[in-house]
Symmetry: C2
Subunit: 189 residues, 2 copies
């Protein structure tokens, strides 16, 4: 589908708005400062629930259109009640989702049409770490993650470059590969 000034949508991305947003941020860097948030409450055992709704961005408090609620739990084999995915599985989802959104944006910005993007993310973890049985030699988190993309569209070589550029600009890829400083505060009563 050709893009014209009357039809700036490619891959479902409104490229006119995308480029206008880039220009707006160039003119005022404050617009780019965001704070995302989740609240969580413990239910029972390893079962707990997070709510995602409000965030700060573009110099104002904002809200998602919906209130999003997610359950997390451990499966029975890990002494949970399996009321939801494990926390580490949500990390895999976040990684796939971020890279995939980036693929759609980068492809649209480059004038490349996508027909489908599918991925499988696999994370290998040795639970000796979190169980405290690793004698200090086994980390708690994933030892490695593999993302396998199947991308179809205009041109295979260009599509591979799009995935590379999406990776180079992915927030979750950066978080998961490079780490982030985390501060934990506790009010105990």
């Amino acid at each position: 589908m050709p893009i014209t000034t009357d039809n700036p949508i490619r891959n479902g991305v409104d490229t006119a708005t995308l480029f206008a947003t880039l220009d707006a941020v160039k003119n005022n860097n404050e617009i780019a400062k965001f704070q995302f948030r989740a609240t969580n409450r413990w239910i029972s055992g390893t079962h707990n629930q997070s709510t995602i709704h409000g965030f700060f961005g573009a110099m104002q408090e904002m809200q998602h259109a919906g209130v999003h609620v997610f359950d997390a739990d451990h499966p029975a084999v890990l002494v949970g009640a399996d009321n939801g995915p494990t926390p580490v599985e949500y990390v895999l989802h976040a990684l796939a989702a971020c890279l995939t959104a980036g693929i759609a944006n980068v492809a649209a910005a480059r004038g490349i049409n996508l027909t489908s993007v599918e991925s499988t993310v696999e994370g290998d973890i040795d639970l000796l770490g979190i169980l405290g049985l690793g004698k200090g030699e086994v980390r708690n988190g994933y030892q490695g993650i593999k993302v396998s993309f199947k991308v179809d569209g205009d041109d295979p070589d260009k599509l591979r470059e799009v995935v590379e550029q999406s990776t180079a600009r992915s927030a979750v890829y950066d978080i998961v590969t490079n780490g982030v400083p985390v501060v934990i505060e506790v009010e105990a009563g």
Copy 2:
């Protein structure tokens, strides 16, 4: 509620099963090798959807009781259609969920009763990074994350120690603070 051999449940955690699982893993470390997975498919623009169901663990292929499907998208201010939380918000949920599950487990193992655990997770991000406007000086991911816990139960000092121990044994805290090697493979057509 006192724990007896007839009633090994504390904080909703089956401590008898928890300790039996630890013994089983001590006797055969292979039980502890897990692989978690998510599959994702692009829908349109920054909207995509992950499915979480099967995983490998305890030396066999396993499945969660339910098939879990999660939408991710960007909000309108970030040129998306707001069909779900952003990928980076799912990371905050994963971090809160992992620490909270650990708090329940550690407290139960130590014989400490919890009455409530609530948390708020805030992640600060400067989108100049992912927009490619940071001149190489702004990272793509969160610059910092703050987790604020409110924990109520038996004893404030012991509860603070429980949060510390949960952090020291948290898979997602390790992933997010220390990073993980990620391999990305692309099949383009």
